[in-house]
Symmetry: C2
Subunit: 389 residues, 2 copies
C-alpha cells in the first residue's frame, strides 16, 4: 500500500483539525477537502474541465447506480470509470450499501427490514432495483468485484447503514454485520488486488448509530483492520446535528491519526467546519449540487433562493467578490431568469457557485489551519453565516 501515502502537513493547536495529503494513483488529495458527488459517473450539469477549474481534487461515483445501469461490466469494457467519463483525477466509489438500504428505507420498520424490498442475510443483501423491480444480491465479495471493475482510486467496504433513530439493539446488529462484512471485503480486496495494475485503497466504514459504546467499539474494530483510510458512516441520516457532533467527539481519540478520515454524506458549510475541527479530512454530499437544482445557493451571509422575486433585476452576482465562473460573468438577474425558465445552463451556473463555495471554504480552512488561526476563521464564518441580515 505504499502508493497510498498519507502525510500530515500541519496540525491545529486548539482543535483536532489538520492539513494533510493523501496520494492515489490518479493524484494527490489536499485535505481537508470536499468531494463533489457524481452519482451516475457525472457530477450533475458539469464537465470534467469545470471540476478542474473548481479545484476538485477528487469526485465520487455510486456503485449501486452504476451497477444497475449501465452495469459495471460495461464500464470495465469501456476502460474503467476514469477513461469512460474523461476524468483524470482521483475517484472514490461508495459500496452501494447506503443505497441498497436507503432506497427501501421508507418501507422498512426501524427494527427490521421489509421482506419485499430488501432482505438482509448473513451472506449479503437481496434487494430490488429501484428502476424495474428486478432482484439483485450484494455480498461483500461482489461489492469488491464491482468496485474493482469500476476502477476508482478509493473504494468502500460494504456496510449496513442503520437510520439515525435506530435502537441500540438494531444499531448493534447492523454494526456487527458491518464488521463481519468489512473483514470479508478486506479478504476479497486483497485477492483482487494481486492481479491489478492500478491499485485501489479500501476504506472500512464505522457504524453504531448514535450509541456511544457502539461507535467506540466500531471505530476500534475498523482501525484494527489497518486499511489505508477510515470512514464514518451512518451520520446525517436522521439524527440531530448535536448528536452528530457528539458522536464525532466520542470517537475522535479512537480514529487512527496517520490515515485519512472520511465523514460520509455530510456537506453543509457549518458541518464541514465542525467536522474539520473534530479531525475529519474528507466529506461528500449531494446537497451542493442538489440544492443548486432547487435554486438554492450559499453565500457568506447564509442560504438564499433564486425563486425570490427580489432577485429579478439584481445586477450583482450571486455573491460579491466571489471568484467562481458564475459570479465573475453573470448577474443574479440572469441566473434567476435561467433558473425560472428551467434552462439547464442556469442549473449549471448555480452548481458551479455552490461547489466553489464549499471547495473554496475548504481551501481557506487549509490555509487557516496552517496559519494557526483556524478557530478564529471558523467562528467568524459561522457568526456571519448564521446572522440573519
Amino acid at each position: 500500500m505504499d502508493q497510498f501515502k498519507f502525510k500530515i502537513i500541519s496540525k491545529d493547536k486548539k482543535t483536532s483539525a489538520r492539513v494533510s495529503e493523501f496520494s492515489t494513483p490518479h493524484g494527490k488529495l489536499h485535505l481537508p477537502t470536499f468531494m463533489p458527488v457524481g452519482t451516475r459517473a457525472t457530477v450533475k450539469t458539469l464537465n470534467p474541465e469545470e471540476l478542474v477549474d473548481l479545484n476538485a481534487d477528487i469526485i465520487l461515483a455510486n456503485t449501486y447506480h452504476l451497477y444497475l445501469r449501465p452495469g459495471s461490466e460495461t464500464v470495465k469494457k469501456m476502460g474503467g470509470l476514469h477513461k469512460w467519463m474523461n476524468w483524470k483525477r482521483p475517484i472514490l466509489t461508495d459500496s452501494g450499501g447506503f443505497q441498497v438500504f436507503s432506497l427501501a428505507l421508507e418501507k422498512r420498520p426501524m427494527q427490521n427490514t421489509d421482506k419485499k424490498l430488501v432482505k438482509i442475510k448473513e451472506d449479503g443483501v437481496e434487494f430490488r432495483s429501484y428502476i424495474d423491480g428486478s432482484k439483485h444480491f450484494f455480498t461483500p465479495e461482489k461489492v469488491m468485484q464491482i468496485q474493482s471493475d469500476l476502477g476508482a482510486d478509493i473504494i468502500m467496504a460494504f456496510d449496513e447503514c442503520a437510520p439515525g433513530e435506530s435502537t441500540h439493539a438494531y444499531a448493534k446488529q447492523a454494526m456487527d454485520r458491518t464488521h463481519e462484512w468489512a473483514e470479508r471485503c478486506k479478504k476479497e480486496h486483497n485477492k483482487l488486488q494481486k492481479s491489478k495494475k492500478i491499485k485501489q485503497a479500501l476504506f472500512p466504514i464505522v457504524q453504531g448509530g448514535i450509541h456511544d459504546d457502539l461507535r467506540v467499539e466500531s471505530t476500534k474494530f475498523m482501525a484494527k483492520l489497518d486499511l489505508p483510510g477510515i470512514a464514518i458512516g451512518g451520520l446525517s441520516v436522521g439524527e440531530t446535528k448535536e448528536q452528530m457532533y457528539h458522536t464525532l467527539d466520542v470517537i475522535k481519540d479512537y480514529l487512527p491519526e496517520d490515515k485519512p478520515r472520511y465523514l460520509m454524506g455530510v456537506g453543509t458549510p457549518e458541518d464541514l467546519l465542525e467536522g474539520v475541527s473534530r479531525g475529519i479530512d474528507m466529506f461528500d454530499c449531494v446537497m451542493a449540487t442538489r440544492n443548486a437544482r432547487h435554486g438554492s445557493f450559499w453565500t457568506k451571509d447564509g442560504k438564499f433562493n433564486l425563486k425570490n422575486c427580489g432577485f429579478k433585476e439584481i445586477a450583482d452576482p450571486l455573491m460579491k467578490n466571489c471568484g467562481c465562473y458564475t459570479c465573475k460573468n453573470y448577474s443574479t438577474s440572469y441566473v434567476r431568469h435561467l433558473y425560472m425558465e428551467n434552462e439547464t445552463f442556469g442549473l449549471r451556473l448555480v452548481t458551479i457557485h455552490n461547489l466553489h463555495f464549499l471547495l473554496d471554504l475548504m481551501s481557506k480552512v487549509r490555509t487557516h489551519i496552517k496559519n494557526g488561526d483556524f478557530t478564529d476563521f471558523k467562528d467568524k464564518f459561522l457568526k456571519r453565516y448564521f446572522k440573519k441580515s
Copy 2:
C-alpha cells in the same frame, strides 16, 4: 448604415451560392452560416465559451419569449442582451411574429384566426401569453421598441407568418399586412436609431406562402425597402421540401445581390446545402439543439438516435474523425449512458456535436465555394448522408 457592410468574397459558377461577410457592431459574420437558437437568451445547455469554441459567429434570441419573461425592460436595465448573457459576438432577435401566430396555430383555422387566442387587427395583433393567458398587443412600432431594448445587432420586422398550406387569398392577406407592417417598422426603427449609440440592422421578411406570384411580389416589395438585409419567412412551416426549394428558385432573381439573405427556421443539413445553392447566406433552426435533447444526432452517414441499445458499448465517438469536444473526449457508450439517465451533461454533449456538425458543414461549404467545387462537395455529402448503411 455604413457599419452593416456586406462584401461578397466569392461566387460559385454553377449555382447561386456565394461566400460573403457582413459587419455588425459586435463582429463580422462569415457567410453562409448557421445561427444557433437561444430562445430565452441561452442556447439550451451551452455557455458562451462553448459557442465560441464551436465558431458560432452569431446566435438568435426570441423577442416573444423575452418580452413575456423577464420583460424587455428588465433586459434593458441589466445592460442589454449582450451584457446580460455574457455574449460578445453578434445577436439577432426575431420579431415575435412567428410565435404570436404559431403558438395559437392549432386553434386557428387556416383561413382565419381564432378569436380567443390571437386577434389580428390592421394596427397590430392581440394575443394571449402562452404562460398565463394574459392579454398583450403587438404593433410593428412596439416590436421595434422591444427589439431596441433587447439590443441585438440584427432585428426583424414584424410579420404574419401564414401556414404552409394557406390558400392564395389568405396568404395574400397576410402578405399585404406584412408589407404594411414592414413599412411601419422601418419608420419606427429610423426614429429609434437616432438616439442609439449602437446601431441595429433591420431585416424585412418576405412572405407569400407557396404561391409563386405572391412570393415574387413580396420579394420585390421588401427589396425596394432597401434595408441592410432581407429574410425569407413562412417556409418550413408545413409545405413540402420540394415546395420550399421551388419557392427559393422562384424568388432567387428578385433577391438583392448586395445584401445578406436569411432563410428563417430552416436547419437540416440537406436544407442548408439546398438553400446555399439557391443563394441563401443565413439560416437558423431549433432542430440541432432540440434533436439533441431527444437523443438524435447527425453524422456524415445520416441521423441516429442514442436510444438504440446497440450503442451501449460502443467505444468510438458519435462520429469518427469529428473535431467536436464531444467526439474528441467521449465514447458513444458514455454519451448514451448520460442520455438514458437523463443527465443534462449528456444533452450538452449531443447539442455540442449537432451544432458542430452544422457549423462545420457551413465552414466546409465556404471553403468549397471558394475552391470552385461546391456542387461536387454537396453531391457527395448528400449521397453519403442519404445512403442507408
